[in-house]
Symmetry: C2
């Protein structure tokens, strides 16, 4: 990817904390922030991470203050002695710390609305560098703040991802928009969420995109078990940027076909939920190897009680017969991991719940329980609905139990999605 | 956290690539490398990320060359024009690039063993800075290399995680061990996993730890809904380091009491599983508001089929009566979210599965469905076992459905843990 002509303001990101420095935590905040800043028309040039050491933190803030126009910092705003961001910012800016009335009011408000008692250590979070402007935190106790250090506008945010995301959207991006004025490029991203091929095979389908659309950049991002195809375009002219992106998206969708389950970033469970609701249909789930994960995903979607009736996680064979009515004869003849068994499970849970559709999984997530005939990674998926009851067998092994569970659960939802859309069931 | 006496060699990590700079990819490599270097006795002080821009990349390499003893760089070793690591390293070291016979042999060997044809662009990967030592890549086409820049020993590795991990283990860590000799520190970490108080209240219980144990550093890490108390110690003398850490851990456990559910990093579901197995007991779960999450967690543990029998995710009231045998009278009198209802659910699922214990949840995860009397965040938890059937009501609201679900599920497992250990049920 070629560097762009440098008319955009440059940004850096700094993640702080011992868990970042030592690798105890994978820093997903910085990637999220980078993407948002790039969308806002900034050019992110550098990511930084340091631990909770006052001297080093102060030095890095000073460095960035000499290099960048904008910097977003995460972490170190909490109430404990490890939380050094305000002190380091004050030292780097050459000012003192003082209790900030707006910050204190924001913290008190948080506790009042939740009827929680405030403990004294919380007051530390209201100590801000002189000249800082408080950034209200509606979803946590630690307010953030904005401060100039050197030539750079710094935004200090909590490290808790959902607090950071909320404050970035509500407090930081609007301020950056104001700061930038005419120095902004338009930047657009289009995401196609895919399931069914590996990252490299998905990428191969899109070979030639760069030649066909020189202004559009392609990024593949594995959010296991889904693959996100990201198309990026930027430039001064909004109409040109949007047109280039739309054309590239049409081209990419043609090549990806029904691998694409969403072009709006929706997760699979929300897509399936929307399809069920649109058909006034309901769903019941019988899970063995997926252990409740399908049900957990489905119920992450607000309003899922409109279509989701029941899940039976029948881990033991006895539960399969007693709760779902799977015939003992089927289990004796085929075993738990078999297309006939999952057909009985899907049909059984559909009847039990009085639902339009029933889906069922049974397989071997590992690390043990595999055999020569049915190795770890084998999964059977059953689907019952208004039509004939279907049963499939697949094999995926990622060497880790939790990855296998995720792949099995996603595949089961994709089988249902294909049924609801009348697509071919490609094994 | 105070800086340690600096007898350990300091390390930095640099991730390169447009996907890192723009946030299209979450950089999990750096956390992995940091953890490995820390275990090897280095002190990682800084993480860095830049895009594919020759000037900036060269400048960062020079900077690090003046700051650190060791640096691991990932990415930019491929065959395309974007892959700039070798050129930047040569520029930073003030040397030229030249074709390296060992690197070329390593690439040719890779293709020969796979019977793949070599395309000419691959030869670019054999161009290394003068003075570099090639690092063999047994699992990919791009060899890495080692080079001194300034006072720092750099190791350049591919960005593909499994190639990086293999080369770090086989090529880099043994070389670092050789380089460090007597400069290696022993480093130990102890983790106490806690549940039941917020991060700041947990931290308050441990006030004074730093004074009592000056050689031990304290870090709190919120892995919602659990809080991990981490104690770190390092130094030249292994016996002293271990003794200091053990004493601090005893002190901390006394102050944290039964908030601590593990001192070995085990998640709650593994702790509960171990307790069930030790008692030869089995478990069934009835979930409403937690939507399958308890069951999903329990079945993440390998071997959980030994004690986990069944989960019934009875989202609809009809499913509660039909599957679990909750009395229609109870539902009519109390509603779904009530201590009496979850008692019936826990008892019902325990009987249905023939299990030793049954736990049940019913509540309002939000964002909708709350009322003045039972606001979003209300959860009832039922517990059936050999003794009387118990029912509790709690309230936690984190403003997000998925966080509420996690807190409800964790609380239910903690109720069971307390029952299994004979601890008080603190509401």
């Amino acid at each position: 990817m070629k560097p762009q002509p440098n008319h955009a303001a440059v940004a850096e990101i700094l993640a702080t904390g011992e868990e970042i420095r030592t690798g105890a935590l994978v820093d997903s905040n910085s990637a999220y922030i980078a993407e948002q800043l790039e969308l806002a028309g900034l050019k992110v040039v550098r990511l930084n991470g340091v631990g909770d050491e006052l001297d080093r933190l102060t030095a890095v803030l000073k460095e960035i203050g000499n290099r960048a126009d904008v910097c977003v910092v995460t972490g170190g705003l909490g109430p404990t002695v490890d939380d050094l961001s305000a002190q380091a910012a004050a030292d780097a800016a050459g000012v003192g710390l003082h209790p900030d009335p707006a910050a204190l009011a924001s913290i008190e408000d948080f506790f009042r609305r939740r009827n929680r008692p405030m403990n004294p250590s919380i007051h530390k979070q209201a100590m801000l560098p002189a000249g800082a402007e408080v950034l209200f935190n509606p979803v946590g106790t630690a307010p953030g703040f904005q401060l100039m250090i050197g030539r750079c506008g710094f935004f200090f945010l909590p490290g808790v991802p959902f607090e950071m995301k909320r404050m970035l959207a509500d407090q930081v991006l609007p301020r950056i928009e104001g700061m930038l004025g005419g120095r902004r490029d338009v930047r657009r991203i289009k995401t196609l969420s895919c399931f069914g091929l590996t990252e490299s095979l998905t990428g191969e389908r899109l070979e030639g995109l760069g030649k066909q659309f020189p202004d559009v950049q392609l990024g593949l991002r594995a959010r296991f078990p889904e693959i996100q195809v990201k198309l990026y375009a930027s430039g001064a002219d909004e109409t040109r940027v949007s047109a280039a992106l739309d054309q590239a998206a049409v081209w990419a969708r043609e090549r990806l076909g029904d691998l694409v389950f969403s072009d709006s970033g929706e997760p699979m469970e929300a897509v399936v939920g929307r399809l069920l609701r649109g058909r006034n249909a309901s769903l019941a789930v019988a899970e063995s190897c997926t252990g409740g994960l399908i049900s957990h995903w489905l119920t992450e979607v607000p309003g899922s009680s409109d279509y989701f009736r029941l899940a039976a996680v029948t881990y033991a064979n006895e539960a399969k017969t007693r709760v779902l009515g799977v015939a003992e004869e089927t289990l004796a003849r085929c075993g738990a991991v078999h297309a006939d068994t999952v057909r009985d499970m899907a049909d059984g849970v559909r009847r039990l719940a009085g639902a339009t559709y029933g889906i069922a999984t049974s397989g071997i997530a590992g690390p043990t329980g595999g055999s020569a005939e049915k190795p770890v990674g084998t999964v059977c998926i059953g689907l019952a609905g208004p039509g004939p009851v279907l049963g499939y067998q697949f094999h995926f092994n990622y060497g880790r139990r939790s990855m296998n569970k995720q792949m099995f659960a996603m595949k089961a939802l994709d089988v249902l999605r294909r049924e609801l859309l009348g697509l071919a069931h490609t094994p």
